[in-house]
């Protein structure tokens, strides 16, 4: 490497260093948060903390979320040098299950970090895993019982399930499954000569207060039209 090239590289490094020193700089404590809301929680809330470690103020131009189920709020529009704050992201769990990843895109007037993507990863624990959540019979099919398998979630101590059918046209019976925390719900229509539908309400003995209800659906399809 000749002298000219060495000088050029040094100048480049120096300019990058100087640019870093004088600019506004919003430093985030974490840009990814892992949340594990409790089973009864309706929301998962993440606090993305920041500090302006630069020499000039930083203004938030926009904050938007990747999904209507998540709302993000800033405490202030402008952050002075040395100031701290946070952006609060509230994720409404609704009927979601499993791992949910939601992004919050923050746009500032800091040219070096104009856009920052904050990621909220919520792992929603499941009390029950129900499979399938729907059983059906074709019109005229033999009205044999069909099985819905219900498994307790990880570390969820369920010993008993109560199942009720919204329609007297279906019988639902709970039997122990092949493993601890597993149950078989045998669902059977009394007849399949007419279209009927029912919602099965499944109530485990945990959590007791407040109790959580789960649902499965059963239906006898209309008999095929005869020509």
């Amino acid at each position: 490497m000749n002298l000219k090239t060495t000088r050029l590289i040094l100048a480049l490094i120096l300019s990058i260093f100087l640019a870093a020193v004088v600019r506004a700089d919003l430093k985030w404590e974490q840009t990814t948060l892992d949340l594990h809301p409790a089973i009864s929680d309706k929301q998962a809330i993440g606090h993305f903390k920041y500090e302006n470690v630069g020499k000039t103020p930083v203004r938030f131009k926009s904050v938007h979320t990747s999904c209507g189920c998540t709302v993000a709020q800033t405490q202030k529009d402008q952050v002075g040098p040395g100031e701290k704050g946070e952006i609060t992201a509230t994720f409404n769990i609704g009927g979601r299950t499993g791992v949910q990843v939601k992004n919050v895109t923050v746009e500032t007037d800091d040219p070096a970090h104009a856009v920052t993507v904050l990621t909220l990863k919520a792992t929603i624990g499941q009390v029950l895993e129900i499979q399938p959540t729907f059983v059906y019979w074709q019109g005229g099919e033999e009205p044999k019982a069909k099985t819905i398998i219900v498994r307790s979630g990880k570390d969820v101590p369920i010993k008993k399930l109560d199942v009720t059918s919204s329609s007297p046209d279906f019988a639902a019976k709970v039997e122990p499954g092949s493993a601890p925390g597993e149950f078989n719900i045998k669902v059977q229509p009394h007849e399949t000569n007419r279209a009927i539908v029912a919602t099965l309400t499944i109530k485990p003995d945990y959590p007791a207060n407040p109790p959580q209800l789960f649902y499965a659906n059963a239906r006898v399809m209309p008999a095929p039209a005869t020509q």
């Binding site: 209507g68 979601r96 499979q131 729907f134 919602t199 789960f214 659906n217």
Partner: protein, 142 residues
């Protein structure tokens, strides 16, 4: 001459790897959790329209967006109110019909989530995700 060229090429390749490795380490927590929807489970607006009455349209967007406008005849089924909305979808479903799930760019991956749950939890077949979602359907009307 040749060995010098080869050495320079190797150095360049090694240098190219450095930022790639650094990026992989820096973004290690930002892997995509959304598995892409396989092409066989996607459907274009033209294909979906051609199915006519043999298809059920499912709107996976939030209630407010559905209330503003939706594909005519579409059934609302979103994850905000999954348990409440599922029975009305199942009442309209029949085994011979295909199901087309759509969302919009504002409701992220809602359609792929809803389609996955219909396949895995409800155990239905012939579930498709609309390519380009609501915006693409709107474009096709112009």
């Amino acid at each position: 001459m040749k060995s010098s060229l080869a050495r320079q090429a190797l150095v360049l390749v090694a240098l190219a790897f450095l930022p790639a490795i650094a990026e992989a380490i820096y973004f290690r927590d930002r892997v995509s959790w959304q598995a892409p929807v396989p092409a066989s489970e996607m459907v274009t607006v033209a294909q979906a329209r051609a199915w006519g009455d043999n298809a059920i349209w499912v709107d996976a967007r939030p209630d407010e967006e559905f209330a503003r406008h939706h594909v005519p005849g579409a059934i609302l089924l979103n994850e905000d109110r999954w348990n409440e909305l599922l029975p009305q979808f199942l009442a309209a479903w029949s085994p011979e019909k295909r199901v087309i799930v759509y969302c919009s760019s504002q409701s992220c991956n809602a359609s792929s989530h809803v389609a996955r749950r219909l396949r895995d939890e409800v155990q239905l077949k012939d579930i498709f995700v609309l390519e380009g979602g609501w915006e693409e359907w709107l474009k096709s009307k112009k």
